[in-house]
């Protein structure tokens, strides 16, 4: 059904008994219309296919006329009687495809349950990310599928992941055609003295891109001075003169027709652009040095186009283009790629759009060139080496932090107030400094004790340190492989790590929801609080169920996690209490 619609003569019947209203049935991709022959009839129909549940039709060869029955989802049906079975078949096929399509859409809708309308691409991206990262998937399953976080909340903290992926896929676009437009061959019918050039929008675009002079001329002449047709005729006339290598004729005609001369002369814009490009070459490279090139006395470096040998005559030099120039120009434009994204139907718009992009790219080339020169002249040999190395500031291995925190937890159990207590300046400064000075002068006068440390003390200290080292060896290793977690059974370890990551995620969401300003946040906090208390109790379970010899270790690990969760729960309670005590504010969310 490439046409996308079917129009057939048919009779519309509301029931099998109905004699039917003659008219025209028109089916398009998503709906069908029935227009009765009698305009005054009220049997007009316009029904979308998505309301059609199914269709039936009569068989060829049975004694029934060719009927097509479309059954509405609400029960009633539309029966069309066609003039012939072939008509019926065409329509039945069309309906089949149309119903198939609308059915697909209907099925796809329920999958995008979330309130936010996601494009399928985005959805696919998320699914892909989850599929690639099993940890993420696990977390997603635990938090989102279990309803602790909504889909959008979950992804909001991972925008970076999504962004990164999106940037990866670039739309592929059609490039510039690589075939030589200069080689557009005319066709001649042989009998008359007539030459025909075939011109398509694509070719026009190519011509504009390749020949800035023609482009400029088009903008200047069309439509103020001449019609588009005249313009192209003139252009191809000039082209034809080139092709026939009729340099003499070209010069003669150019003298008569100034517009034609534009096409025949060397492209000035092209030249200025070439000059600009030469400036882009590595500025330390001396292009002048190439001017004494051996081939310059031969056109095209001795390569001949179309096998013909060109006679070079100085006065006509102006009207000759060399093959190499053409080739280079074509190459440059192809490499630049297609810069336009407009409809090619209208040459005028194409020309204007092209002109705009040209201007943009012109920019401050001079400035850039200066920059490049300064970059190029920074020759490394002349520079002092800056071999000062820096370590990047970065997040430490979170597991390491985890390890030291668990010890912290032990510590806070016994001495809850750490450091920070100020010494009382009980002594006046005179006295304090005095005693310091006495100490120094004592040492100066007496020298230090010898032996400085008694062997017994030294030995006990060394033994103490050794004991300290060997005891921490298994608890807090230097590298993560030796971590406490590794002495736990792998299932427990896995569980703990999972709980840790999900509690981190939950807490992050939890704290970021404060202060509660919207009803959404309010429900989110409630939801999170429930999830947090769930994890809390799970941790408790792990603690209890651990093997007796490991129970202490496990509780050490679990403790800081529980503390973190505790803090969240406490804050929740306090906040609730304050809220109820103060009573609801006008907006209800404080």
């Amino acid at each position: 059904m490439s046409t996308g619609q079917v129009i057939k003569r048919a009779k519309y019947k509301t029931s099998v008994k109905d004699p039917g209203t003659p008219g025209v049935l028109k089916m398009t991709e998503n709906k069908f219309l029935f227009r009765p022959n009698d305009p005054s009839s009220n049997k007009k129909l316009e029904v979308e296919f998505r309301f059609i549940q199914s269709h039936k039709n009569t068989k060829e060869g049975s004694n029934k006329p060719p009927w097509l029955n479309l059954i509405h989802s609400q029960g009633h049906s539309y029966i069309f009687e066609f003039e012939s079975f072939p008509d019926l078949h065409v329509c039945r096929e069309f309906v089949g495809i149309a119903l198939g399509k609308s059915g697909d859409v209907a099925k796809a809708v329920p999958t995008a349950i979330s309130a936010e309308q996601l494009s399928t691409a985005e959805m696919e991206l998320r699914i892909k990310l989850l599929r690639e990262d099993s940890k993420l998937q696990k977390l997603h399953k635990e938090l989102v599928i279990a309803g602790k976080l909504t889909e959008s909340e979950f992804w909001a903290t991972r925008k970076k992941l999504l962004d990164k992926d999106e940037s990866r896929k670039l739309k592929q676009r059609v490039g510039f055609k690589n075939s030589m437009i200069f080689d557009t061959k005319p066709t001649s019918d042989g009998r008359t003295n007539q030459v025909t050039f075939n011109l398509t929008p694509e070719i026009k675009y190519q011509i504009f891109a390749l020949k800035p002079a023609v482009h400029q001329a088009f903008l200047n002449f069309v439509p103020s001075k001449m019609t588009e047709k005249d313009f192209w005729t003139k252009y191809f006339r000039a082209e034809y003169l080139h092709r026939t290598k009729n340099a003499v004729a070209a010069a003669a005609e150019a003298a008569e027709d100034e517009e034609l001369a534009v096409f025949l002369k060397d492209d000035e814009i092209l030249e200025s652009e070439a000059r600009k490009k030469v400036r882009w070459v590595d500025p330390t490279l001396d292009m002048e040095a190439d001017q004494g090139d051996d081939y310059t006395h031969l056109p095209d470096h001795g390569i001949f186009r179309d096998g013909g040998k060109e006679i070079s005559e100085a006065q006509y030099q102006l009207y000759k283009r060399t093959f190499l120039q053409d080739l280079n120009r074509q190459g440059a434009v192809v490499l630049e790629g297609r810069t336009l994204d407009v409809d090619l139907e209208h040459p005028r718009t194409v020309a204007e759009a092209l002109a705009r992009t040209r201007q943009e790219s012109d920019g401050d080339i001079e400035q850039e060139r200066l920059n490049r020169i300064s970059q190029m002249t920074l020759i490394e040999d002349l520079q002092a080496q800056d071999n000062h190395c820096f370590a990047p500031l970065c997040i430490k291995d979170p597991r390491e932090y985890f390890d030291s925190q668990q010890a912290n937890a032990v510590k806070t159990l016994d001495d809850s107030q750490v450091g920070m207590e100020q010494i009382k300046c009980s002594l006046p400064s005179d006295e304090a400094y005095g005693s310091l000075r006495v100490s120094i002068s004592n040492l100066k006068a007496m020298g230090s004790r010898d032996p400085l440390v008694s062997p017994e003390i030294a030995l006990t200290i060394l033994n103490g340190l050794t004991k300290n080292i060997s005891s921490t060896k298994y608890h807090l290793g230097k590298n993560s492989q030796e971590s406490v977690l590794d002495i736990l059974p792998s299932t427990t370890k896995e569980q703990l790590l999972d709980h840790w990551t999900s509690s981190q995620e939950l807490l992050r969401h939890y704290w970021s929801s404060y202060p509660i300003t919207t009803p959404n946040l309010h429900t989110k906090v409630n939801r999170l609080k429930d999830a947090i208390s769930q994890i809390y109790s799970k941790l408790e379970e792990i603690k209890v169920s651990a093997r007796s010899d490991l129970r202490h270790q496990v509780s050490l690990i679990v403790h800081p996690m529980q503390q973190a969760l505790d803090a969240a729960l406490l804050h929740y309670d306090a906040d609730m209490r304050r809220r109820t005590a103060r009573g609801q504010k006008s907006n209800g969310y404080v």
Binding site: D381, Q385, N387, G447, S448, R449, D450, P451, L452, V453, S454, P455, I457, A458, L459, L462, N463, T466, I469, S470, K473, K478
Partner: protein, 473 residues
């Protein structure tokens, strides 16, 4: 070929190889203890320090507690070194557990150094009496002296001002480095060339080692010499010390050392004094190439040209060993590394590796920071030139001729082919060469059968077309 392998051996290896009695005696001197401590690997130093006030053995197990698994080899080396130098003594307790105890004399001396400080047997002379050279001048002097000595060492007639090292001592130093043939000018041996390409410290080690090992012949006690050299290394560079404070023996040593550039001896109106140079103070230190490296001077270009920014004649002589020198300007030597010059070097027993490492070690600071400091193509070419010389290899083999019959000859050829050991055969004359391994197999086959070919033990050089067969007599 006599192989005098020169290793840049550490001074302390020599100390360690001394008999236990003498070693213990050395530790009576606090400075020697310090020098020994400084010569240890880092972990060894730490172990000494942590045992400094402990007078009972510490189990090796408890020491190992501190070591990470991947640092264990380092730990082992350090402990071995400590035991070897008798700083630690191994003891075993009842349970056969290994323990280490620090040498009490050593310990006591270090403790004393720590809290009391140590004094040399002589004080530097006050600077109002003597006019001291600046440190730079002193260093230049030391290097000049050293180069002068080296020049004299290679060719006695080249030195501008001959040092007064006795010719007998010079002979001792030249032993192994130079070869004397009858009626011929002394020629550098292979190891002599290698010696010249070593860095100054390694050369110094070599000479000092020779000096010490020769001491017995001169009727001098080696341990006295060692302790004096160690002591010397604690003198302050650039300070003057009165020669009167030295014993007669030490005085004579100082004279020799002055010729080597380790000290500068100056004569005042009434008394004379010596000024230690950097060469002397570096003697016992834990020296490294990096900490004592002088600035390089050679730039090698990819076109095999070589520019050496040096005015030293010694440098010029060394470069001449493997490069053809084109110009010598006041401060620049221009040369090229050519095939001929390299072949010359290889003939003298210098290896491509040595040339390259010399060029790398002495690379001019401008190029030294680049990697590689010597252009890769030059590196490769020098190696290729060397490989050129080793195109044929020698195979120990057996040569058969006078076969009793052609059958026996052909049988033998087939057998040798079967074992993949036939190196060469000549069907016409019925001669063949087989490898030594196959020969034993052939023996077994021929065992018993009376008529068998004549066999000669030979060496076979060749690659199929070009054959040399040397009959080993």
């Amino acid at each position: 070929m006599p192989q005098v392998k020169i290793i840049a051996k550490n001074f302390m290896d020599m100390v360690a190889s001394m008999p236990a009695m003498k070693l213990d005696k050395l530790y009576d001197n606090g400075f020697i203890c310090e020098a020994i401590l400084r010569s240890m690997p880092p972990l060894g130093k730490k172990y000494v320090l942590q045992m400094l006030y402990i007078d009972v053995p510490v189990t090796s197990k408890s020491m190992e507690e501190w070591v990470f698994p991947d640092g264990f080899s380092k730990h082992k080396i350090s402990i071995d070194r400590l035991v070897q130098l008798r700083v630690f003594t191994e003891t075993f307790d009842k349970k056969k557990e290994k323990s280490y105890k620090i040498n009490p004399v050593f310990q006591r001396n270090l403790q004393k150094l720590l809290v009391r400080g140590g004094n040399l047997p002589r004080e530097p002379m006050p600077s109002n009496i003597v006019r001291l050279p600046s440190l730079e001048d002193l260093e230049i002097y030391a290097l000049q002296q050293w180069e002068c000595f080296l020049l004299q060492l290679i060719s006695s007639n080249q030195a501008e001002r001959p040092t007064n090292i006795s010719s007998s001592l010079m002979k001792v130093f030249q032993r192994g480095l130079m070869s004397y043939r009858d009626k011929e000018a002394p020629k550098l041996t292979e190891s002599g060339f290698q010696f010249l390409l070593m860095d100054t410290n390694a050369q110094l080690w070599y000479i000092i080692r020779e000096y010490i090992s020769n001491s017995e012949e001169r009727g001098v006690d080696a341990s006295d010499l060692i302790s004096f050299l160690l002591e010397l290394s604690f003198h302050v560079t650039g300070e003057a010390y009165n020669i009167n404070t030295l014993t007669d023996f030490q005085g004579s040593v100082i004279k020799d050392l002055a010729d080597l550039g380790l000290v500068k001896v100056q004569q005042g109106r009434k008394e004379s004094w010596f000024i230690p140079t950097k060469l002397a103070t570096n003697l016992s230190a834990s020296m490294t190439e990096s900490s004592s490296r002088k600035e390089g001077f050679v730039v090698v270009e990819t076109n095999f040209r070589m520019y050496a920014y040096s005015s030293s004649r010694l440098h010029c002589e060394i470069l001449r060993l493997f490069a053809s020198i084109e110009y010598t300007l006041p401060n620049l030597i221009v040369g090229a590394i050519t095939k001929e010059s390299s072949y010359n070097a290889f003939e003298n027993g210098i290896t491509a590796e040595q040339i390259i490492s010399f060029l790398q070690q002495n690379a001019h600071p401008r190029v030294a920071e680049r990697i590689p400091s010597v252009p890769e193509n030059v590196n490769d070419q020098i190696r290729l030139w060397e490989a050129d010389l080793n195109r044929v290899e020698m195979t120990p083999s057996y040569y058969y001729d006078e076969f009793p019959s052609r059958d026996v000859y052909e049988g033998a050829c087939d057998l040798a082919r079967e074992y993949n050991g036939l190196l060469w055969e000549n069907d016409k004359k019925m001669h063949m060469v087989v490898t030594a391994e196959v020969h034993s197999e052939m023996e077994k086959v021929w065992k018993g059968s009376i008529p068998h070919p004549q066999q000669r033990n030979v060496a076979y050089w060749g690659n199929g077309n070009l054959i040399f067969v040397f009959i080993i007599v």
